[in-house]
């Protein structure tokens, strides 16, 4: 039987947890605060924490200079599109590996993961040439494809881990009742693995949303998502910290809100199978 923690111990643990949480969140908080300062206040030393003249001028300027909605919409299409397509490919692949493994399955899984070990810049030129010849440069469909390929190993690995937790006997019982493969995956496996699929989806939307190498290198004006929007406010010659912070806040806000609302699902999915 687990021992009940003493009240003082509870307080200490809570305080430590809050301190760590705040430390991790602090850079984001600071970015948000800086976005409401003037450029002069943004670099003031010592910096002021809350007692400054709050202003919305950075947001107004960012709004005036950039087409936020276009970048935002590109981000939405690219991240959700690549994730959904990834699931369409990933669910059957993970099913095959979890429930009908062959002697090569472990090797295939390892091989897929190994594609993540190469720095992306190593394949930039070949991919760029393929995109150029296929007319895919600066298109959303091109980015959906490349992010699908980039994140597919993670999708398959995560789904594979979740599927492994589901007893094969249940699927066998469904087969005994006459379910065909499609029905087995759609009506038996998927509902049982829903938390796992949901967290895979959320994590991949977040990864695709934040992906900044391919989205910057394969786009120009039309398909550029929010990562390019942030990059347009960074400057090595000139102080634009407040505007950069405003742009960053606008770029991370949607995904932060999504994460906030789905955190229960996310945590549940990520710790799924951790305790046996």
């Amino acid at each position: 039987m687990a021992r009940e923690a003493s009240p003082s111990r509870k307080i200490v643990t809570t305080a430590v947890a809050w301190a760590i949480g705040l430390a991790i969140f602090f850079p984001v908080l600071w970015t948000i605060l800086t976005s409401f300062k003037t450029e002069a206040e943004a670099i003031a030393s010592p910096p002021s924490f809350l007692l400054f003249d709050w202003t919305l001028e950075n947001y107004a300027e960012v709004q005036e200079r950039s087409n936020y909605l276009r970048h935002f919409w590109n981000s939405v299409v690219i991240s959700i599109g690549s994730t959904l397509l990834g699931l369409v490919v990933g669910v059957p692949a993970a099913w095959a590996m979890a429930f009908a493994p062959s002697k090569n399955t472990k090797g295939v899984l390892m091989w897929m993961l190994s594609t993540k070990m190469l720095p992306p810049v190593g394949v930039l030129v070949p991919i760029y040439l393929l995109f150029r010849d296929g007319g895919l440069l600066d298109t959303r469909i091109g980015l959906v494809m490349v992010l699908l390929l980039v994140n597919l190993p993670i999708i398959i690995w995560m789904l594979y881990t979740y599927f492994k937790e589901i007893p094969a006997d249940i699927l066998e019982a469904a087969r005994m009742d006459g379910a065909m493969l499609r029905a087995e995956i759609l009506y038996v496996l998927t509902p049982m693995a829903l938390p796992g699929i949901a967290s895979t989806m959320l994590l991949n939307v977040i990864l695709a949303w934040n992906e900044a190498f391919w989205t910057l290198n394969l786009t120009a004006a039309k398909a550029a998502p929010l990562t390019a929007f942030i990059a347009s406010y960074s400057s090595p010659e000139g102080l634009f910290y407040a505007k950069l912070s405003a742009a960053s806040t606008m770029a991370i806000a949607p995904i932060l809100v999504l994460g906030w609302f789905s955190q229960k699902q996310l945590v549940r999915g990520l710790t799924f199978g951790a305790v046996k």
Partner: protein, 435 residues
Amino acid sequence: MLLRSCIAVVSAFALSAVAAQAETITIATVNNGDMIRMQKLTDDFTAKNPGIELEWVTLEENVLRQRVTTDIATKGGQYDVMTIGTYEVPIWGKQGWLVSLDDLGADYDIDDLLPAIRGGLTIDGSLYAAPFYGESSMVMYRTDLIEKAGLEMPDAPTWEFIADAARKMTDKDNEVYGICLRGKAGWGENMAFLTATSNSFGAKWFDMDWRPQFDQAPWKETLSFYIDLMNDAGPPGASSNGFNENLSLFQSGKCGMWIDATVAASFVTNPDDSSVADKVGFALAPDTGLGKRGNWLWAWSLAIPAGTQKAEAAKKFVAWATSKEYLALVASKEGWANVPPGTRTSLYENPEYAKVPFAKMTLDSINAADPTQPTVDPVPYVGVQFVAIPEFQGLGTAVGQQFSAALAGTVTVDQALQNAQQLTEREMRKGGYLK
């Protein structure tokens, strides 16, 4: 008959649709004040050129450099106009990657471009990029602090004077540091400053046989001087300071002097952002009497990649953005102090512009730099604060890391120079410059 007239109507309609469809040119540019201002003023261009629409891609300088290099090297054709610097133009022009800009129109007045700037953008007599703004580096100093130190800043100071003044102006208890200089590693960061400084000490990157020169006395003198000075009179943590960090220190009154880009002059004298706006003086970058000053030369320029299908429209835009009329347009909307500096002789002959406090010193600084003869001894390369070879980006950053480490105190000056010599030799041998 009916069919024929139908076809005629349809084809006439189709033709007019094609004609009415505007040509869109995509412009890649960096995020700094002058470029952002240009974006805001493009209504003037589209009003004069109704058939052309503009699409902007603004990126951080290093991201932009990587992005446009990939595109131009693979002939990706994503951009019709690119903002590039004096480092890229000689290399890309020689590769045949850029469209020549000798025909920007009769009223463009190409001879009005400042000779030093034009020289850096010209290959074999042809202009390959039009300068949008030019910059050099100079000394920006606090007039009140130098007076307090009992000194008077000459227009053309020596390094000896600067070192003496910096030490006298330093008051570490009150967080006032005599001099703020770049320390952050990078070919465009500390190495821009140190390479330009080394020119004034008689040092050079390579001799005429492309042999690296870090094992020679002038480099040791340059680096020792810089590190001693920064240890005595520089701010703490200087090895991570770049342009922005020093700008912020200077604007908040913590630097006695700052030697950096001339473009900073408009920031430090702007009372909205700077607490010392009315106490700033300017002087030429220092020398040691060897005939070269420690100032650099850079021009953000507009170039047209050879792969574009819209060269004519792109040329119209480049001509507009770098014309005399554009300078007058900025002056009429935002005042003379905000006009992009350092490209045209006529601007400096304009009595209105002469009233801008840093105008003359900017021009003198630009004229004091010669990218084709940057060093005391002859060298086989072009470039004042860089060496215009493709290997330099990687090389400059690797050497910059060594010098930044020396400033942080993790390696000695001798070790840093020895490492720099070794890695440069290795790279030059790999590149086929050294046999």
